[in-house]
């Protein structure tokens, strides 16, 4: 037990990301409303971004922008002073992919609404079966 608590504290970001991801996953599987599912999908994606950003954190380091500014190429830069920029770059991509998916999903939801006049999945399926 005494080992467990430091583990929990040392990695609490990872536990939060897993919690958020599971909230999103549950919403995508179990929710009935299409827009709610889309909200869940976005939470799911953001959780993964949180995970990646947590990888990039380094104790005692600052944001990944060189303090020297332009024309300071001769200055020696110590890698330990700056956060890991690579996960940040990857996550910029992931955020943009997320908003693209969101746009497409909402467009589909609008199409579905104009056809069936409801956003509830069970009502749509009932309408399809009736025909």
């Amino acid at each position: 037990m005494s080992e467990l608590i430091p583990t929990i504290i040392a990695k609490y970001n990872y536990w939060i990301y897993i919690t958020l991801m599971m909230i999103g996953l549950y919403a995508m599987i179990a929710k009935n409303n299409l827009v709610k599912k889309i909200v869940g999908m976005n939470i799911f994606q953001t959780a993964i971004i949180l995970f990646y950003v947590s990888i990039g954190v380094k104790k005692g380091a600052t944001i990944p922008i060189s303090t020297g500014g332009h024309g300071a190429a001769h200055e020696v830069v110590h890698a330990a002073d700056y956060l890991n920029p690579l996960p940040h770059v990857l996550m910029l991509t992931a955020i943009v992919v997320g908003v693209a998916t969101l746009g497409v999903a909402l467009a589909l939801a609008l199409r579905i609404y104009s056809r069936y006049n409801t956003l509830e999945e069970d009502e749509i399926l009932a309408k399809i079966r009736k025909k």
């Binding site: 609490y12 939060i16 919690t19 958020l20 909230i23 999103g24 919403a27 929710k31 009935n32 409303n33 827009v35 709610k36 909200v39 869940g40 976005n42 939470i43 953001t46 971004i49 949180l50 950003v53 947590s54 990039g56 954190v57 380091a61 600052t62 944001i63 990944p64 922008i65 956060l83 996960p87 940040h88 996550m91 910029l92 955020i95 943009v96 997320g98 908003v99 969101l102 746009g103 909402l106 939801a109 609008l110 609404y113 409801t118 956003l119 509830e120």
Partner: protein, 81 residues
Amino acid sequence: MFWQIDLAILTLVVVTAVGSLMVKDLLGAAILFGAYSFLMCLLWSIMGAVDVAFTEASVGAGVSSVFFVAAVFRTSRRTKD
């Protein structure tokens, strides 16, 4: 970094995430999702990921929320769960 603030933000993130899925009004869900995105953005800027936080503030909290609201206006606010 103060751990109290950190903890408060992390709790609020989870609360807004659950809230946006529980609330029985799609417009409310959209706005709560915007709040969730802003808290996330805050969390990332605390972690030092300034570019990611900036992008999330403009894309996730800004434009995504607008899309959600626009879509909800064009469909219905009603939801059963």
